[in-house]
């Protein structure tokens, strides 16, 4: 049971981390809490669903291969939507007080959410999302682990490692880090600010998109307001870990997931208290260690 609950926590942690990484990237590069970030996950799930419907004529019983290909298209498309959002709604506010940009992201998030609710057929209702992974179970000694759990754990954490490599090992990653550290100095070194920020939005949004699609594939259901829930958890994870710190987002996600799983597993009546305990942890961090576990920057701007 302990091994399995640990797996449950790791899975939940991977989902949170994919969203939290985006929050931390945006905060690092733009000093911005992007409240529209959760909607990228939701948009990805619904874009994928629409693509399944358009290209295959149905959303169930379709070959996994084409689902994967179309999901990839959806993820890239949402990365593009992220870039577009920045270009249209945020770029012109870059010099304005930080609060304005923050409000703009809240507005963008409402627009996306309500657009899906109104434009997608029966958009207020939960939509069935096909499973992207084969059914079945791997037996590891006494434990049976379903394929999809393993696959999601694998895909999730692999992408996070890849994002880490991208940021820390590539030239573009170096530009992102440079802008995050000191925007003026980066400009003086000849870094194209607009392009770097656009790249960051593409990266962050497509990671959030992956979270949305994995979420849909795992639970089998997506809803127009799923982005909001993911955003709250992802943002909280980023705050606990330390906004602006890449590893902080990972650690924060794992801490939140562990707290939630532990609450349900160990406390009597814990399943209705999971959000209570996890947000108590968030509040605790905000009060006693506002910089988070690994964070060094101040979060006063939020």
């Amino acid at each position: 049971m302990i091994v399995e609950q640990t797996l449950n926590a790791l899975l939940l942690g991977a989902m949170y981390a994919l969203v939290a990484v985006g929050f931390t990237l945006f905060f690092g590069v733009l000093d911005l809490v992007n409240f529209a970030h959760g909607e990228m996950a939701m948009l990805a799930a619904f874009t994928a669903l629409s693509l399944f419907g358009l290209a295959l004529g149905r959303t169930t019983d379709v070959p996994t291969g084409s689902l994967w290909a179309l999901s990839a298209v959806a993820i890239l498309a949402v990365g593009g939507i992220g870039v577009l959002t920045e270009r249209v709604a945020l770029r012109r506010l870059r010099a304005a007080p930080a609060l304005l940009m923050l409000l703009a992201t809240v507005g963008v998030s409402i627009v996306f959410r309500e657009a899906v609710r109104l434009l997608y057929p029966a958009g207020s209702n939960p939509q069935v999302f096909p499973s992207l992974f084969p059914k079945g179970t791997v037996h590891l000694g006494p434990f049976g682990v379903p394929y999809d759990t393993l696959a999601i754990l694998g895909v999730g954490w692999l992408l996070i490692v890849a994002a880490d490599r991208f940021i820390n090992r590539t030239r573009i990653g170096a530009m992102i880090r440079a802008v995050a550290q000191d925007r003026e100095a980066a400009l003086m070194m000849g870094i194209d600010l607009d392009r770097t920020i656009a790249t960051t939005f593409f990266l962050g949004s497509s990671l959030g998109a992956v979270a949305g699609i994995l979420n849909g594939a795992f639970y089998g259901i997506v809803r127009f307001d799923m982005g909001l829930l993911l955003a709250i958890k992802g943002f909280s994870a980023a705050v606990v870990g330390g906004l602006g710190s890449f590893y902080g987002a990972l650690v924060g996600s794992l801490v939140l997931a562990a707290v939630e799983t532990l609450t349900v597993a160990a406390l009597p009546g814990g399943s209705q208290l999971r959000d209570v305990t996890s947000f108590l942890v968030v509040i605790g961090f905000l009060v006693f260690r506002p910089n988070g576990i690994l964070g060094e920057r101040s979060v006063e701007k939020v």
């Binding site: 449950n8 939960p126 259901i221 829930l229 799983t261």
Partner: protein
């Protein structure tokens, strides 16, 4: 000064007297009205419109029968699923002196708001669709209900799975809404009464999607059955994750999950063997039901009668029956309805001390090959398949 005051009062008295004349039952009563309240607009309109048609059908048949020495009229009022609108509609109904009784409501919050009005004006109301157990527990003699509550339904279901299917060790998961907690209490109470052991009780929030932690804990208790008190989405996710974690227990729930969406979300493979119970009987299976379907069809209503149409039809029938016994008098109707013995579509309706129907006709279902199948027709009942 005195003269003028006298004149004014004289005129006032005259006006009042004139105004009162048509209202006083000087001659024989010509029109008696029965009010209908329900959601005719908004998201629940399909429920309300079907019930309204059934109500209308009952009144048309009563007028055609020639058994009433006066014409009966329906006063149809929209409650829009909103307590304030419902209250205004109720006030409109009770302030019409021709209205002798009412039937109403699909939404419990609306019913809570209007029963106060009907109680205050001593006007009987029969609830056809709102199923919160407390509606009939205010101690109002005017309020009765023909639809079985979630509690009654759950109790019948618990008897089935514990006594008849001999599943003794149960884990309970419920959502934290009123619906979830009422059904939890009804299940736990009844199941224990039939000798079941309740191993765990867990509440979940509506909107939660990840139940793996709570299910992992439940699996270690090794229950024979898992009862879920809640509605479609959480129920389907719970069932799917239960199968994913290979918990070899039966899954039983109430009408809250009875929907094709449950099978779609959980997937047919995972939903296989899910047990559920639903109030009502498929009407085409019983003669009274077939007659209702036929008469409803012949009347040519545009909307289908819906899940609660038959209840609204019976509620109206009870009012008409009482009306024939005691005549158009609100106070007498209150008692007559309380003590009625009425042959309705689903069986004989009588009311208990609270005014709640004693008739709890339910149908048992099991998911077989991706379809909700009546238990008696299923391969599970014949022993060809096992639910665990």
């Amino acid at each position: 000064m005195l003269r003028r005051g006298f004149l004014v009062s004289l005129i006032l008295i005259g006006v009042l007297a004139l105004g009162l004349v048509p209202g006083t039952p000087a001659g024989p009563v010509e029109v008696v009205k029965i009010a209908f309240l329900g959601p005719l607009t908004g998201p629940n309109a399909p429920q309300g419109l079907g019930a309204r048609n059934a109500f209308d059908l009952a009144i048309r048949q009563a007028n055609a029968s020639g058994r009433f020495p006066y014409r009966i009229e329906g006063l149809v009022l929209d409650d829009a699923s909103d307590p304030a609108t419902g209250r205004a509609a109720a006030l409109k109904a009770v302030s019409d002196p021709a209205v002798v009784a009412a039937t109403g409501h699909w939404n419990s919050p609306v019913a809570f708001a209007t029963i106060e009005v009907f109680h205050e004006y001593r006007t009987p109301i029969i609830i056809w669709g709102a199923i919160h157990p407390d509606i009939t527990r205010r101690g109002y003699p005017e309020v009765t209900r023909v639809a079985p509550t979630a509690e009654q339904e759950t109790a019948v279901g618990a008897r089935w799975v514990v006594r008849d299917l001999r599943l003794r060790r149960w884990s309970v998961v419920h959502d934290t809404t009123a619906y979830g907690t009422f059904t939890r209490d009804a299940f736990v109470g009844t199941a224990r009464g039939f000798g079941a052991e309740i191993l765990s009780v867990d509440g979940i929030n509506v909107g939660d999607r990840d139940f793996s932690a709570v299910l992992t804990r439940i699996r270690s208790l090794n229950p024979e059955g898992l009862f879920f008190g809640g509605v479609v989405t959480e129920g389907a996710l719970l069932r799917a994750q239960m199968v994913r974690l290979r918990i070899p227990a039966a899954f039983f729930s109430i009408s809250g999950i009875f929907d094709d969406k449950f099978i779609e979300v959980a997937t047919a493979a995972a939903a296989e063997g899910t047990l559920a119970i639903k109030p009502g009987v498929p009407l085409e299976r019983i003669p009274t039901g077939r007659r209702f379907i036929e008469e409803y069809r012949r009347a040519g209503y545009r909307e289908p009668y819906g899940a609660y149409g038959p209840y609204a039809y019976d509620a109206t029938g009870i009012i008409l029956d009482a009306l024939r016994q005691v005549g158009p008098d609100r106070a007498k109707l209150v008692d007559a309805i309380r003590n009625i013995r009425y042959r309705g579509i689903l069986g004989e309706i009588t009311f208990d001390r609270e005014g709640q129907t004693r008739l709890v006709a339910v149908t048992r279902y099991v998911v077989q090959d991706g379809k909700w199948t009546v238990w008696e027709d299923s391969e599970y009942a014949k022993g060809k398949r096992k639910i665990r």
